[in-house]
């Protein structure tokens, strides 16, 4: 076997959980560290890229990296327990080991966005992919213009992750806007789809860059609204979700037209995917 095929891209690395934090009911953050010192030293990632996390005997799932790329020896993942693998992962704690492959994919254009206003639009639960871009910008607050985070949920009780939102609210020059499709007792945000929040923004924000993650209908609706308000299509980015098994462009599960989401995404410039996002069954 020649050296070119090593390391074997299917083979996970052993990673140790060094810390665990509860974020909300069923949502937790792992801080991971690769066991092998050479691999640990060589590991680099970009915000918006993901790892494949493997739970012993059960399976592998794609999970976004939410920590800072300047500290690549510690890798944070915020995970929501929804099924077989993620519920099993939820039972692990410090000292336990799991498998990790990555990083994979194309992340957020955080460098290209330097000096500009950022509009982050997130929908639904556990929108971890955008978190990494928000954290990245907040940790380099002076490098970016104004930051607005528009977050939509179906019902008020779906709003979790409260501390994160509170800390983002407290950051300088950062606006956090919330909306729920249906109002409920005690709800202080807006009522309606996430696009209602766009009316709350200073119109100058539409000359900045937008990064979004959430259900595809929400991202498409918001992107089209942003275009109407004058945002340039090349300034709109979305993170797509597809079934992933290999993360290498080999298994076909994440195929989206000409793209493999694992390889050409998960972050795409909206203009690249706009046409096919309209078609059901792609």
């Amino acid at each position: 076997m020649n050296a070119a095929v090593r390391p074997i891209p299917y083979l996970p690395q052993v990673a140790e959980i060094v810390a665990r934090r509860e974020e909300a009911a069923g949502i937790f953050t792992f801080r991971l560290r690769l066991k092998d010192p050479a691999r640990r030293a060589a590991y680099r990632f970009q915000p918006g890229q993901f790892n494949m996390l493997y739970l012993f005997g059960v399976g592998e799932v794609p999970i976004s990296i939410v920590s800072d790329p300047e500290d690549p020896e510690l890798i944070d993942h915020t995970i929501r327990a929804v099924g077989r693998v993620t519920e099993g992962l939820a039972r692990l704690g410090p000292g336990d080991t799991l498998g990790l492959r990555g990083p994979f994919g194309r992340g957020w254009p955080v460098e290209q966005a330097r000096g500009r206003d950022l509009l982050m639009v997130t929908g639904g639960l556990g929108c971890a992919p955008t978190t990494s871009a928000i954290q990245y910008a907040l940790q380099r607050r002076d490098a970016y213009g104004r930051i607005a985070i528009a977050h939509g949920v179906k019902r008020p009780e779906d709003l979790i992750y409260g501390e994160r939102f509170d800390s983002w609210c407290a950051a300088p020059d950062t606006q956090v806007l919330l909306t729920a499709d249906q109002a409920g007792p005690g709800w202080r945000g807006k009522v309606g789809l996430v696009t209602v929040l766009l009316d709350e923004l200073d119109p100058a924000m539409f000359r900045g860059m937008a990064m979004m993650c959430g259900p595809e209908v929400m991202m498409r609706g918001t992107a089209e609204e942003l275009l109407k308000r004058g945002m340039r299509i090349e300034d709109i980015f979305i993170s797509m979700e597809r079934n992933m098994q290999c993360a290498l462009g080999h298994c076909g599960n994440c195929q989206f037209g000409k793209d493999f989401v694992c390889k050409n995404g998960p972050v795409f410039p909206y203009g690249e995917v706009r046409g096919l996002m309209r078609v059901r069954g792609y």
Partner: protein, 371 residues
Amino acid sequence: MAQAALLDRTAFDFLIQTLITQGYRVLGPQARTGAIVWDEIGSADELPRGLRSEQQPGHYRLVETGSARLFDYVHGPESLKRLLFAPEESLWTVDRDGEIRFNETLPAARPTAVIGARACDIAGMLVQDRTFLAGPWSPFTDPYYAARREHLFIVAVNCTMTAPTCFCASMDTGPRTRTGFDLALTELDDGFLVETGSPAGEAIAARLPLRPASPAETQAADAAIDAAARAQVRSLDQSGIVELLFGNLEHPRWDDVASRCLSCANCVMVCPTCFCHREHDAAALDGQSSRRVRQWDACFTLEHGSVHGGPLRPQIRQRYRQWLTHKVASWIEQFGVSGCVGCGRCITWCPTGIDLTEEVAAIRAQPGLQA
């Protein structure tokens, strides 16, 4: 090309014995349960003789012709895909003893010579190379595929017969093999015209009792291959195919084909270029170890690509459309080449005889229709 050489029909076994003595496991065509497949052979006597395959949409049958010829059938359901990209295999194993440990399971690939690969098979393999070997089209090499690929010696056979389902001529992939082989044979009445395509092929050819081919023999071989090309009744017009199919994603023809398609995935399984697969864990009963297994999968299954617990393409119409638009259109954008090599297997092996060339032509005949 060096001057063509001829191997007499009676000397064909020399080829097989030479391959064996040079350390190759030899896979030859075998007639099994009514179809041609590849299996290990020890001599030329084990090859089927005087068989021809009758192929039509949804129909395949081997018929005896009584002739002494070895390669008059065209191809069976199998292509080189099975030999390089295994239908099922372990990617790695893991065990735990306190902490977990991953183990490589790379197989020691055996040098294997396969006899009777057709131009479409080789074209299909060259397409899969773009998926599984790192290069301009893919960032990662699949080491399992690469190891077998490196150890495969290909004895190609140029087609002098064609099936009514074949359309390699219109895809520019056959019936003559141009590249990707070690040795290529063209069967004549008295023997086999032999061409070499690699240093490994030359090394084997040097040990064979070859004689120079006469101009008449070379011409006869060319004429037979040309006749096979001309006999093809199907074709696929590829002009503007990406725009054609992606501009007609709501064409009523997708509903029409969905009413005939059983979503059985036979077309994917026999296709030499389809690469989709799934992975799962096979945990040992003692709970201390597990195997990661990959298995061929198809975009026709509901589970393929499903997200959030629900199928991504619940309707057959969406799944057939996914298959065809990928195969003959977006594949070109992904890998710089069509995902279809014109072998016609999907037409022959579709239980309801669905014919992709007809589906593309129907949309081309009436573009812009909306369902």
